[in-house]
Structures are given as C-alpha cells and as structure tokens.
C-alpha cells in the first residue's frame, strides 16, 4: 500500500479547549505510520455560525483553508465534525457553481491563492477505515478493550446531510457519485462512507469492534448534543446532552467515544450542569476517537492527553 499522507486541518478546538484531541491524533497517526502535515495557515471554519451572519465571508475563508492542502497536493483530513461539514459544504458549493467559484477566487487572488477543487476533504475517521483499513488496525491492537462497553456517539455533522457525506467521504479509488454501476453492485444502498447511514451509522461501532471492545446499542447514538445552541438556548442544549448521556449510561456504557470535539465538550465538561437539569447523577468518561484507538494500540495515556479529560477515565 502506498504511504498515507494527508494535510490535517485541526480546527480551533484541538488547539485550545481539547488539546488532547490533537495530541492523540498525532500519536495514533505516528503509530500507524500515517503522515499528517499540519495546516498552520488555516483559519476557523466559522463553526456554522459565521455563515448565519456573513455567508460569503465564510465561503472565502473555508476555500482558503482548502487552498493550502491543494498547494501541497494533499488530500485534507479533519478531526472535528463541524469543521468537516463546513469545509465540505464550501467545497460542494464551489465545485458545482462556476460563478460562485470565480467570485471567491477573485477575493483569494488578492492574497495570491486560487481554489481549484483538487483536494478531497474527509474526516480522519473515514481515512482510517477506508484508506488504512480496519483489518490492519485490528492487527495493531496490543491492549484489547474487551472489558469495556463503549457507547459510540456519532455527532450530527459527520452523518447528516448524508448525500453530501456519501459523495465527499468516498474512498479515493471510487471517485464521486454512485451511478448505475454502483447501484447494480449494491442494490438499494450505497456502501460509500463505510456504508454509513444517518439512521443506522456503523463506522465507530466497527472501529470499537476492531479494537475488541463491546459496542453499546442505544437510541441516542446518532442524535444531537445541542452544542450549537449552548449559549443562546442552554435549556435545549442541556436536555439533549443529558438525554444522550443517560441513554448510554442506562444501556450499561462504561465510556463514550466521539469523533467530534464539540460533542466532546458538551458531554465531558458539562456533566454537572446537565445532571442538575436532568435530575440524575451523571458520571461517564468521554473519550475522543483517537484516544480510544491509542489506548488499544498501547500508546502511553499521557501521550494521548487523558490528563486533560474532565470526566476522569479512572480505568486507565
């Protein structure tokens, strides 16, 4: 297999409130022999809020971020669901609208950049599954997680809107779109994106399986944590976070794992506030996906930044 190399768009959270996400991502990539080039030039993606205020500005900034991956001839990977969705929404709009693309490129030309559309944009999770491979990952496991019930929490922006993710998260050798051929091979359902369906997602559960853990079956796994309404509608956000946490706890989860640092912030940091809203104690360790993978690969917990998790993973 060719060596895997990507441009890593970290997003803001991994550089600030979830340093453990960046630490564990780099540690796991190193262990698996995946080369990640940090896009230090990148700006914030606007986190689905900037475009509420100024849509065009958000397009220009996201296009600029992609430019830096293109300049190095690398495909981009993200480690935040919201970065992933905002970046890929920008890519989709520019790739399908020449007029809009030229408006954006007119601005980018002011700083000597041009958006071409040559780099793909995927969440690191799917790069591990589709490019690295779960079989290979399973071979690397030195500390099987078979003592643990692990609740996968998918996070909205990796699974919805599914048509966009199916198109852009496809493995590289398949290219875009489904077409007749794909339909004939896989009648009724596209298997792209690891066969991820927003109503029955499986990628995280399959990773848990590869790490020899037991995945928890619970209804809230594909639901919303409410993060984007945290400030303006705290009641709504707390209720959604709490419902998901309690659902996992009631189904015997020992821990939860998520590919999204924003879900992680709500689930990990807010357990006390959420417990008050729900009227029940809540205590559940929440791990970032690369932290979970790293533990199974035998990486030192310190290197995975577990000391930064607020709900302490005492089992380590």
């Amino acid at each position: 297999m060719a060596e895997l190399k990507y441009a890593l768009y970290t997003g803001c959270t991994a550089r600030e409130s979830t340093p453990e996400l960046l630490m564990s991502t780099l540690a796991v990539a190193k262990k698996l022999g995946i080369e990640l080039v940090l896009l230090d030039e990148a700006s914030c993606c606007g986190a689905s809020h900037l475009q509420d205020f100024d849509d065009f500005l958000s397009l220009v900034l996201n296009a600029r971020n992609i430019c830096y991956a293109e300049k190095q001839n690398l495909n981009m990977v993200t480690i935040c669901n919201t970065c992933q969705l905002n970046t890929v929404m920008t890519k989709e709009r520019l790739d399908t609208d020449e007029n809009l693309k030229s408006q954006v490129n007119e601005k980018l030309a002011e700083v000597g950049l041009e958006y071409k559309g040559t780099s793909s944009v995927r969440h690191f999770l799917y790069a591990i599954i589709d490019d690295y491979g779960l079989d290979k990952l399973a071979e690397q496991v030195v500390k099987p997680l078979d003592d643990f019930n692990i609740a996968a929490f998918y996070g909205c922006h990796n699974i919805r809107p599914s048509h966009l993710h199916r198109k852009h998260n496809a493995p590289q050798d398949i290219g875009e779109g489904g077409g007749e051929e794909a339909f004939e091979k896989e009648p009724l359902m596209s298997k792209y994106n690891g066969g991820e369906d927003p109503y029955n997602p499986s990628s995280l559960d399959r990773i848990i399986d590869a790490l020899k853990g037991k995945s928890v079956d619970y209804e809230s796994k594909n639901k919303c944590c409410g993060f984007h309404a945290d400030l303006q509608a705290p009641h709504t956000a707390h209720k959604l976070t709490g419902t998901a946490l309690l659902d996992a706890i009631d189904n015997d989860a020992d821990m939860m794992v998520t590919p999204c640092p924003l879900c992680h912030l709500n689930m990990d940091v807010k357990q006390n506030a959420v417990a008050k809203e729900m009227g029940r104690d809540i205590k559940l360790p929440i791990l970032h996906l690369p932290q979970l993978i790293g533990l199974a690969l035998g990486i030192d917990p310190k290197e995975l930044g577990l000391q930064h998790n607020v709900s302490e993973p005492e089992f380590v």
Binding site: D40, H49, F53, K107, H228
Partner: protein, 327 residues
C-alpha cells in the same frame, strides 16, 4: 426467466393506541411476505385489510404529494407512499421493523397524530402571499425565472411534518416554531411580490421560538422527502435578519458576529473571548464552574497564549475585502 415472485418474510412491530379507550400504548406484531417493490404504505394497508380493520393511519394521494401518510420506521421519518420496504431492511440490517407514529406524545389513534401545534405555528408566520394586488389587472404579475429560483424549492414542501417531528429543538422547546414553519416563512420572504418580510422576521428573530434556537443537527434536511432542505432556509432567515438590519443585540447575534472579530484578530477562534463577547461581562459568570473545571485540566488558553494562524495578514485582508454584512 422464472415468474416466481421473490419475497422476504418480515415482522412489523406496530404501535397501537386509542387515546379514547386505552390507558397505555402497546405493540402488535404482524408477519408477512413482502415483495421488493412494496412500499411502507402497502404494509399499512395490508395490516388493515389482512389483519385488523381497526388499525388507523392517514392516507390519501399515494403519489407523494398530499403529505398525509408520514410515520417513523425504526426511528427514520418516512413518507409511507415513497419509502420502499426492502431498502429499510437493508439500512437497518434486520427483518423486524418498528412502525411508529411521527410523535408518540401526540397520538390520537395508532399512526394518527394531532398536528395542531404544527399548523398553529405555521399560522403565526403568515404562510401566504401578502401583496396589494389589483382585482382587475390589465396584465399578469411577472416574476422572472431568476426571481423564482430564489425560492430555492421551498415551495415544494408538502407539510408532511417529517422534519418537524424529527427536530430535537421542537422536542424540548414547545415554543420553537420548527423547520417546516421556517421553510414556509422563507418561501414567502423570498417571493418578490410579497410585502410582509419584515413582519415575519420580527417573529423569527425572537429568542426561544425563533431561528436562533436551531441546534444545527440537520435532522430536518435528512428527513425531508422533497429535498426542501429546511436548515438551508433557516440559514437564509438568519442572513435576512442581518441584511434587513433587524438583528437585535443579544447573545445569539453576538455569538454569530463574534466569530468574525476573532478570525480577524487570530485567524482561529478565541473560544474564551467568544463566550465573553456573546454573553457580556456579567452573563459570562454563569459559565464559571465549567471554566474552572476546564482550567484545572489545562483546557483554557490564556489570552497571551492565544494561538494564531500562520499568514494572518492574508486572513485580515480577506475578512476586510470579503465581508458583505454589517452588524
């Protein structure tokens, strides 16, 4: 070629409840052979015709246009007359499908729910064209193709309620208008003949019922059988609030605008400053317990350590030249 019909033996666990006579809802199980072309509506019909005539559900056109027959199957909102059953078997990897009404707490009988709040919330947003129109016009009112395209297919909505009953904000906040209602408000706000745009924006900008309470989960876009993309219309309403100069100075608007300030200064988002700017110096205090917990774990970046994007000058140039909206 064999003419034998290929079928799958499937089990349908079906929600049953009569609000007039039952104390609690229950599930009844029906087994049947299902062909590859059968739709969920066919199953509902067969339950009624082959098993239990008292089974109740709404249906009318059978052509995906009346919006009556929506239910949830294994939690997935479906328009019964458009949803193939084998496809669901494929998605959920199971031979047992759970048939439930769109919203269990609103059930009248079996699959039939009371959509009262769905309609009354529509009513509040003037879901019709408001225009001074001459009763005896000399010629028709012309709308150019370009202007008509600005509706972005929001007029395709059949009010089936799939998005509304999939929306988690509706679930926990009773006053929240809901995605179908916002899509409808956008449909008329985007109509060049309409004159009530500002009236509608007055309503949709309110904290609580309005667009700011959207959690951005995209459940609505996923649930819509007509690709109306309600969340896309919610974003458009946000944009209209700013474009029309109708944005109030509150935590929600400052939250959106704060991103721009932060990006201009650092390229990246200054998370702490965003919360302070959005909430104000006093409001920010309520986040102290979490802030302290995060600080202890090394999750708070101090202002003097705030990381900055490389080539920040480019970002500053672009923010200045590409900004199109003022606050």
């Amino acid at each position: 070629m064999s003419s034998e019909r290929i079928t799958k033996k499937l089990t349908f666990k079906t929600f049953r409840f009569n609000a007039e006579t039952d104390f609690l809802p229950y599930f009844k199980t029906y087994e049947m052979e299902v062909g590859k072309d059968e739709l969920v509506l066919d199953i509902l019909n067969r339950i009624k015709w082959e098993f239990d005539g008292s089974f109740s559900y709404r249906r009318s056109c059978r052509h995906g246009i009346c919006g009556s027959c929506s239910i949830k199957v294994n939690g997935k909102p479906v328009l019964s007359c458009k949803q193939n059953v084998w496809e669901l078997v494929d998605i959920f990897e199971t031979d047992t499908l759970l048939l439930e009404p769109q919203s269990k707490k609103r059930v009248v009988k079996d699959m039939i729910i009371d959509k009262k709040d769905f309609w009354s919330k529509h009513d509040k947003l003037k879901p019709y064209l408001v225009a001074e129109i001459d009763e005896h016009p000399k010629e028709e009112i012309k709308v150019s193709p370009h202007d008509a395209e600005q509706l972005l297919e929001a007029d395709y909505c059949i009010q089936c309620g799939n998005c509304y009953y999939a929306c988690p904000a509706v679930e926990v906040n009773e006053e929240y208008f809901g995605p179908a209602q916002f899509a409808k408000a956008y449909r008329f706000n985007a109509d060049v003949r309409d004159t009530a745009k500002r009236d509608r924006l007055e309503k949709v900008r309110e904290m609580g019922p309005g667009v700011w309470d959207c959690v951005k989960c995209f459940e609505c876009a996923e649930a819509c059988p007509k690709d109306v993309d309600p969340i896309g219309k919610i974003t458009k309403l946000h944009n209209q609030i700013f474009e029309e100069g109708m944005a109030q100075d509150n935590v929600a608007t400052r939250h959106a605008v704060g991103f721009k300030h932060s990006i201009l200064k650092h390229g990246l988002l200054d998370e702490g400053e965003l919360v302070r700017y959005s909430e104000g110096n006093i409001g920010v205090m309520k986040h102290m317990p979490e802030a302290i917990a995060m600080f202890k774990k090394g999750k708070i970046v101090m202002p003097w350590n705030m990381p900055k994007s490389k080539n920040l000058d480019e970002i500053k140039t672009l923010v200045k030249s590409s900004s199109k909206v003022k606050f």
